[in-house]
């Protein structure tokens, strides 16, 4: 490889040609501050509009300061990263940025995790001269079911725009206006609700300031917990236990399942259940649907469309309802685990404990912001009473625990309640990309072939590649599996399906890079993909620790079918556990 030699702060270094000064400096242990820059290495995405101008340094022989995020090393370059000129420029530019930023840090939802706040601290900003007559750019605040946009706090780093367009290809956000009034938002500065937004929350996950935050449902949950007439049931998604610990200073990848359960009980939830139970249920329904479609397809039934698409990710559902509404019959009709849980809790379980569904409040703890929107969909309620009342994110739960003075680090591990807290390893891996289809295959194999599955871990389905595929041998029948995480990758597979070029039997899609563990409601990873990998590893560890690892072996699932649902795909199952899809473009146009 061709290399170049240069000097940074009097230290010599040799780096491959094409390396940026920022990365070369990092190798020397020189941490140059950045604000708009974002490196998502595993996604092959580098957001470097060169807009914030915080990372500038002095390069000998150049007239102007150079932004290190986008200036490549050249042979013989002499770089100085902290001269008076550089530090003054950084501070002055930071003062500019702050002069057009609200100073309500104390009450900002991003306070404490705000990169702008950190940078102001790091650069030692103590005053913002001229503020008394400085005009601020102001915009309308917009609250959607999942995301709040407060563009007064937008610093034009363009990270959200990159995520929404380049990674997710959702195209809901774009820079608009120019000059001082420029900001990033949906078309016509409309509400997000009336755009193609899928609420995947990736924009929120990368926003360095309080411009994009999630809708906070903790107050409503607190109110329900303090209402003696209500029985409050909580479910926790698999990805939460692999990330919650980070909010309390634990290493990424620390599993806190037991501590989380204990904390939820301490918060006052009447029943602490597990969404993993509903994940097992999803496998039963979705797996049955897959096998039914597959066998009909193999028999030559033209109405049986192959491939089948998973439908447990609400961001993904929103995406195909908007962009592929002509293919509404391709995805599985199975509801997501969150909604299956709600439907079962408010029917089967409510009956079991003898209360009316109206007196039960179901709360979900989710890594995901789209879940907030999903639980508010009209079709997931009975007479106006939603199956899931509130969905709060991993981050919100962490704040809630802190508010309640619960010292989660020193809690003793506790178990989930029964029966909706019992799950298999198949339910756990739902949190990772490839996990849903792996769980489905564990069950489908045994049902389809009638044989016992010897090797449980389909490692060929795992990994962080954006699009993956594998052919599984179902005792002579090849089953071709496609996996995509990140909506941009999903689009590639979907276009093939649309054009009749797809050869897959089943496709799993998760809207967020990495799957649920990388969702928009998780502790902020600030683009560090090692954190996502650590979470993924934790999930697989939890799977291995489980005594039962196939959904159809979950005794409580078996019991649920015996006592209540009949069999997978029964009429009652269909009524409670399956759904239908809409043309979201139409819906938005009508509402607008």
């Amino acid at each position: 490889m061709e290399t170049v030699k240069l000097t940074i702060d009097n230290k010599e270094i040799e780096v491959p040609r094409g390396t940026t000064i920022l990365k070369a400096a990092k190798e020397l242990g020189i941490e140059i501050p950045t604000l708009c820059y974002m490196d998502l290495h595993d996604l092959n995405i580098e957001n470097k509009p060169g807009g914030c101008r915080i990372c500038v340094v002095e390069v000998q022989g150049r007239r102007n300061l150079a932004p290190t995020c986008s200036t490549k090393c050249e042979p013989g370059m002499v770089v100085k990263t902290h001269t008076a000129r550089v530090l003054n420029a950084r501070r002055t530019v930071m003062e500019f940025i702050l002069s057009d930023h609200p100073k309500d840090c104390l009450i900002c939802p991003k306070s404490g995790t705000c990169e702008l706040q950190d940078m102001a601290h790091r650069l030692g900003i103590r005053e913002i001269p001229g503020q008394e007559f400085a005009e601020m750019s102001t915009y309308r605040k917009d609250t959607s079911p999942s995301i709040i946009r407060d563009l007064d706090k937008c610093i034009m780093c363009r990270r959200c725009e990159t995520m929404c367009n380049d990674v997710q290809t959702v195209g809901a956000l774009s820079a608009f206006n120019r000059g001082f009034q420029a900001a990033v938002g949906p078309a016509f500065e409309q509400n997000l609700e009336y755009s193609s937004c899928t609420y995947c929350g990736q924009c929120v996950a990368v926003c360095p300031t309080g411009a994009l935050t999630e809708v906070n449902h903790v107050p409503q949950v607190l109110k329900a917990l303090n209402d003696p007439t209500k029985t409050v049931v909580v479910q926790t998604a698999p990805a939460v236990r692999a990330a919650l610990g980070e909010e309390f200073g634990m290493e990424p990848g620390t599993l806190v399942t037991g501590k989380m359960t204990a904390a939820l009980r301490a918060l006052g939830f009447d029943y602490v259940f597990d969404t993993d139970f509903a994940a097992d249920l999803t496998i039963m329904e979705e797996g049955t649907e897959l096998l039914d479609r597959l066998s009909r397809h193999l028999k030559g039934d033209k109405t049986a469309r192959i491939p089948i698409l998973t439908s447990c990710c609400p961001g993904w559902v929103n995406f195909f309802e908007y962009y592929y509404s002509d293919m509404k019959d391709v995805p599985s009709t199975a509801k997501s685990p969150q909604q299956m849980f709600g439907a079962i809790a408010k029917s089967y379980f409510a009956e079991k404990i003898g209360i009316n569904r109206k007196d039960m409040v179901v709360v979900s703890i989710m890594p995901c912001l789209a879940k907030k929107y999903e639980c508010q969909r009209d079709e997931f309620s009975v007479d106006g009473n939603p199956d899931v009342d509130f969905s709060i994110s991993t981050r919100e739960l962490a704040t809630f625990i802190k508010q309640a003075n619960i010292d989660i680090r020193n809690l003793h591990d506790e178990e989930f309640d029964s029966p909706l807290g019992e799950s298999t390893g198949a339910g756990v891996i739902f949190g990772n990309t490839g996990g849903v289809i792996e769980a489905a295959c564990r069950t489908a194999y045994e049902i389809f072939t009638g044989k016992k599955l010897e090797r449980l871990e389909f490692t060929e389905l795992r990994g962080m590649e954006g699009v993956r595929s594998a052919t599984l041998d179902f005792d002579g029948t090849p089953i071709k599996i496609g996996i995509a995480h990140g909506l941009g990758n999903a689009r590639k597979l979907l276009d093939d399906v649309k054009n009749g070029k797809s050869e897959f039997t089943a496709i799993e899609v998760m809207a967020c890079p990495g799957g649920c563990i990388g969702c928009g409601g998780q502790p902020l990873h600030h683009g560090n993909s090692d954190i996502i990998k650590a979470r993924a590893a934790a999930i697989y560890t939890e799977d291995r620790k489980k005594p039962l690892r196939k959904s159809h072996e979950n005794p409580f699932i078996i019991k649920l079918y015996e006592e209540f649902l009949g069999k997978p795909g029964s009429e009652k199952s269909h009524h409670l556990l399956h759904t239908h899809y809409f043309d979201r473009k139409d819906k938005i146009l009508v509402k607008k």
Binding site: N165, G171, A172, L173, S174, F176, A187
Partner: protein, 160 residues
């Protein structure tokens, strides 16, 4: 946000479609398509941008981003005779506001709007540097000085 809601007729949609296909539905020709549509409609309402977005396969947010970037493009329709009333200090104290009120009453529109037949649009502007003539009204390129509310009808009549 788009303040106006319009309903596109079929021929309008067809026109946009044709314009897009004239440029091979190539997203790179977005600016040329926008030029063509603005020439035809006089402005670029949200609804037109939505149709363009669909045919060029560019997210509508991006279309809007481009429209708001270039000063040549506008989302508010201008009347055939745009009326601007100076609201600089001099004109204001000399009754500019009363003149503006009279125009609003006569035309039945607010500032920033156009009449239904698109003949007149109304806007207010900062000092035009003709304080000696205050209050000042501009209709197209023509300047009217020392306008009294009673003169409004007469001015409008000139453009009947």
């Amino acid at each position: 946000m788009s303040s106006i809601k319009i309903e596109l007729r079929k021929e309008d949609v067809d026109f946009i479609k044709e314009t897009c296909s004239k440029f091979n539905n190539d997203p790179q020709e977005l600016i040329n398509v926008l030029h063509g549509c603005q020439e035809h409609f006089g402005y670029l309402p949200a609804e037109v941008q939505e149709v363009i977005s669909e045919h060029l396969n560019v997210p509508v947010a991006k279309v809007y981003g481009v429209v708001t970037f270039y000063s040549f493009f506008t989302m508010t329709p201008k009347g055939k005779h745009p009326i601007s009333i100076c609201m600089g200090t001099a004109c204001y104290v000399r009754g500019g506001e009363k003149v503006l009120e009279e125009f609003k009453k006569e035309l039945g529109i607010k500032v920033g709007e156009s009449t239904k037949d698109n003949k007149f649009s109304l806007s207010s502007l900062r000092c035009v540097g003709a304080c000696g003539l205050a209050p000042v009204v501009l209709v197209g390129d023509k300047t009217y000085g020392r306008v009294a509310p009673d003169d409004v009808k007469g001015i409008l009549k000139e453009y009947e």
